[in-house]
């Protein structure tokens, strides 16, 4: 074997190893949590309130809280994000201001989650007097999620061939009719994928809700959007760092529930994407 081919063999082996070593821990992490968490999963664990300083009972209020926060985030971030993506792909002129918008989106995507928490505390909790609440937390998470939804939706909208728009215009459709009846339906699977991936991130985040929504322990479920709430990620943080004598299997159980919640969203996004790819007419 000539030396340069030997080099190639060695390097390809190294790169393969790098890839294997990168993904193996992922499988290991998910498997490990499933293995140690499963024994904790019982109906009571999923459906009951915590008892005995959270060392017994269930995590129902944390599950409900994460659902509320995710829904609240969706209500704000989806219309705003998709509309912003429509603006960027269908309306925005190519000028300095549009470039400023793109730069702003890149920067929003890069701002640390805990800084979003500070911002939410300053604007929503204190300045707008929403107090520590589902509303304040959802708004904070929504702004954090926005860049993900905007950029993926814009890619999906831009992928719709120009000819589709031209046909609609030539039949007398207005710009908005074209977007609503032709472009958006064609881009829907891509937009949905982006929305779900964005919400997945919001559901798993802890830092932005630390000072805006999360409560250590609540004896009952929140009554309104202006109540604080428990949430799965924060609950996992609390029971693994702040509660002495916490049974370890309940910690793994909580981690598993959070993981299943988040990964099922991930799976849903993957399924939508691959089905759309198979069905696409262009």
């Amino acid at each position: 074997m000539p030396p340069r081919e030997r080099t190639q063999h060695l390097i390809f082996a190294a790169l393969t190893l790098a890839a294997v070593l990168t993904v193996a821990p992922i499988v290991l992490v998910v498997g490990y949590i499933a293995w140690l968490g499963l024994p904790a999963i019982r109906w009571e664990f999923l459906s009951a309130m915590p008892r005995e300083g959270m060392r017994a009972g269930g995590i129902w209020p944390a599950i409900v809280g994460t659902l509320y926060l995710t829904l609240g985030t969706a209500v704000v971030a989806v219309p705003l994000g998709v509309a912003a993506a429509v603006y960027l792909s269908e309306y925005a002129p190519d000028n300095a201001f549009t470039r400023a918008i793109r730069l702003a989106i890149i920067n929003l995507a890069g701002i640390p989650s805990v800084v979003y928490g500070l911002f939410g505390l300053g604007l929503f909790v204190l300045f707008l007097r929403l107090s520590t609440s589902i509303a304040a937390g959802s708004l904070t998470l929504a702004i954090m999620t926005l860049p993900v939804i905007i950029s993926t939706s814009e890619v999906a909208l831009r992928a719709v061939p120009q000819s589709f728009r031209l046909v609609s215009f030539s039949l007398g459709g207005t710009r908005w009719q074209t977007i609503w009846r032709v472009v958006l339906p064609q881009a829907l699977p891509g937009i949905l994928t982006g929305v779900i991936l964005g919400l997945e991130r919001a559901a798993g985040e802890t830092a932005p809700i630390l000072f805006t929504a999360a409560a250590f322990f609540l004896p009952r479920l929140p009554d309104s959007a202006l109540d604080p709430t428990m949430a799965l990620p924060y609950h996992l943080f609390v029971i693994s760092t702040q509660v002495p004598g916490m049974p370890i299997h309940l910690q793994y159980g909580t981690a598993l529930v959070l993981l299943v919640f988040v990964l099922s969203m991930n799976l849903l996004a993957t399924v939508i994407r691959s089905r759309a790819r198979a069905r696409r007419q262009w």
Partner: protein, 300 residues
């Protein structure tokens, strides 16, 4: 005429909303900066300027030196990138250039799963499973150290690195590869001398975005780095507990009185983080723009 006007009205409202939504990203960045300044700037009046650049962070006694926190963030981030770059870029090259189709279809969703893992889950696992392992293997007093933080942060930065770098490699026209192969280059020579250099701006963006990810991560570092606010000096710092800017905010903001000195300083820390991430992303963004401009020039 009238019917036309009636139909136009709702449309104008919708289009106004779309326009406003498009502008909102700029508004939000502005609002974030405004509120960080509003709550953070008073710190400069309350704490002497040079005290903020001190090497001691001990808020109870009024020591607000930011240097140990900035140092902690830098140590953990550098460590994370040293681990993430070989693995992340190696995986990206493997997926884009070498892997057979089935391996690609397997690897890409797995990397996406890693991107979706909540940081608190990784932090939890790092705390209960990895840190004890690090302690026994390295025979150090505690596994809750910068090193543990770096390992987990590498895991959080890798999905960004892989996906952005892989996109960049994918975007290199096949004619480049064909030309190199036709000249008798091996596949590896083609990758190393042609494909990777052609994708270098994108690869650089990937690294920058990975750095941004590592600087901003909060929960994992808070749970595994041991949180000792000490100046990290020398190589030994990797094996000792450190405390990052993000972890400091997350750990202390819950316990301070609104409007107090400590509260304002924590917002200042947030401001420093905002500026760090702004610079990193501006650099990454500038690279992207440069690349796009060049592509436009080539096509025109």
């Amino acid at each position: 005429m009238r019917a036309e006007a009636v139909r136009r009205w709702p449309e104008m409202i919708v289009e106004a909303f779309i326009r406003a939504a498009g502008y909102s990203a700029v508004l939000f960045v502005g609002l974030i900066l405004f509120f960080l300044l509003r709550e953070g700037l008073p710190a400069f009046a309350e704490v002497p300027f040079d005290a903020l650049f001190g090497t001691r962070w001990y808020p109870i006694e009024g020591y607000y030196g930011l240097l140990p926190l900035v140092g902690g963030t830098l140590v953990v981030t550098i460590g994370a990138m040293l681990i993430a770059m070989p693995f992340g870029l190696g995986t990206a090259i493997f997926i884009a250039e070498i892997a057979p189709r089935w391996a690609r279809e397997l690897l890409k969703p797995l990397v996406e799963v890693l991107a979706g893992l909540p940081s608190v889950v990784l932090g939890f696992l790092g705390m209960v499973a990895m840190a004890p392992l690090v302690r026994t293997v390295l025979d150090v007093p505690t596994g809750l150290s910068a090193l543990s933080g770096s390992i987990l942060l590498a895991g959080m930065a890798i999905p960004t690195l892989v996906s952005v770098a892989e996109d960049a490699l994918d975007a290199v026209p096949n004619s480049y590869r064909d030309a190199a192969l036709a000249l008798g280059a091996t596949r590896w020579q083609t990758i190393w001398r042609v494909t990777v250099p052609a994708a270098r701006t994108g690869v650089l963006t990937a690294v920058m975005l990975g750095v941004g990810r590592a600087i901003g991560e909060t929960m994992t570092v808070m749970m595994v780095t041991g949180n000792a606010a000490r100046m990290p000096l020398g190589l030994a710092a990797f094996f000792r507990p450190v405390r990052t800017m993000t972890a400091t905010i997350a750990a202390e903001m819950g316990e301070v009185a609104n409007g107090s000195e400590h509260y304002h300083v924590l917002f200042t820390v947030g401001l420093v983080l905002f500026i760090f991430s702004f610079i990193v992303n501006l650099a990454a963004g500038a690279v992207v723009f440069q690349q796009r401009k060049r592509a436009e020039r080539l096509l025109s």
